[in-house]
């Protein structure tokens, strides 16, 4: 088992509007992409963000060696409970996933 952040080129998270968060996992190499795409399950992201799995959209984009997930923001952007206005720090949380 290794941390996802040690295996891929870059993990980016970003607001997709104030109500959605999108996660882009850039694998760079086809071999890495195949390994990540098959081992990171949508359930893992659901568990990490403590949200029902049916809330998560998943895109496996082999042309770009990217695995992408989109989900409702853990907190609406800028509300009293939000602590990551641009949604960019969640990348570090995703990087802690074991694969």
């Amino acid at each position: 088992m290794a941390k996802l952040r040690t295996a891929v080129k870059k993990i980016r998270t970003k607001n997709a509007g104030p109500f959605w968060l999108t996660i882009d996992i850039f694998c760079e190499k086809p071999g890495v992409y195949d390994a990540i795409s098959s081992s990171i399950k949508t359930e893992h992201i659901a568990q990490l963000f403590q949200t029902p799995v049916e809330n998560i959209k998943r895109f496996d984009i082999s042309d770009l060696c990217v695995v992408k997930f989109s989900l409702p923001r853990p907190q609406t952007q800028g509300c009293r409970h939000d602590s990551d206005m641009h949604g960019s720090s969640y990348a570090a949380l995703v990087g802690e996933l074991e694969y």
């Binding site: 109500f19 959605w20 853990p74 609406t76 009293r80 602590s83 720090s89």
Partner: protein
Amino acid sequence: MVRVLVPSGALGLNYDKTALQRGIEAKPDIIAIDGGSTDSGPSYLGRGVSKYARSSTKIEWAGLMEARAQAQCPLVIGTAGTCGADTAVDWMVDITLEIAREQGRPLKIAVLKSGQEPTFIAQEFKNKTISPLGNAPHIDQSVIENCTNIVALAGAEQIQAALDTGADIVISGRATDTAIIAALPLQRGCHAGGAWHGAKIGECGALCATNPQSGVILIDFDDEGFTVTPLADGANASPQTVSAHMLYENSDPFILYEPGGHLDVSAAKYEALDERRVRVTGSKWIPSEHYTVKLEGAKSAGFQTVLIAVLRDPHYVENAQKWANDIITKCSQKARDRLGVTDDDFSIDIRLIGHSSCFGALEVIQSQSHEIGAIGIVTAKSDALSEEIGKLLNPYFLHHPLTQEEEQPTFAFLFSPAEMKRGEMFEFALNHIMEINDPMDAFDLEIIEHG
């Protein structure tokens, strides 16, 4: 062919002047730049103000007005003043007229406003022309009426109406990022899928290429697709950098909804023309049955006062969460007792920096820092109440012991006074679309002749 020059992803982020000059020499048909988005949070829309300094905005906009005069083509800005509310558009018009006086040129300015009367939107909600998008907050008429600003996102049609006036400069309120770039190519009959797709690729300037901070790109639209050319030294577009931009801030990398339809790029082909330029074809535009515009709104969520204390004593660093929870319980009780307020009137949150401030309950790492920053956040119904409870919280932040038995601690304060008023806070209240009969129904167009 229609040639669009995009100086950068947003006015206020600066652009490469040499590259901009190359763009002018390439004889663009229009210069288009975005002025904002929701990405900086709800306060800007709530207050109707820009996040960028007026001085930066003025210097960069003056450079683009000069470029427009040289290129002899229209200049358009969308979502003026970060949020695109009417007051932010007025701010941008004021800056534009100030520059026009200094540059000494006559100008025709088309001003497109996107602001919506909350009472009108509440009525439309009652008329059932408004429907929620994914993960939209619950709304009712009172939520809508309590919004301090509501804007509708203009699409290509409204920008085209502004261009049709023959204006030198179009200052638009809230618009989709893509509309300002797609408007002219669509109007001149370029491929619709290519127009919207090229606009999406270009809306962040050179972010679709290497050397992304250089800003300036050129997009050529034709009857099959588009070609993107970054203009700064060291900026190159490749099929990879261009197609990867569809991922950026999009919940779906293949589908993009716009007023009047949606873009589908699942069959798009990305081809390198040389080491710098990329050509894209095969994008599809699917018109919708009804014309809808997206709505954004922000409403007051109370007034805040914050305090900062630093915990350095290892005993307190180790027990920081327990310390914070105890303060919230005790200070909340004190506020209820002394001020006669209820939990509906106020809340106290404490964020522990160096512990769990970023992800809260989602944090998966447990590690011990040598110091922890505690931020106390009081949110209350009025500014005065927020300040008063901030003062109740102050002694806890300074001296609260973990147990009654231990010696009274004193924590590090950075400031005197320790309480800082943040003023009114806002929250996003809408993620909805509204059906309209005519694209101009929700928008106002005004012409200003200068000189």
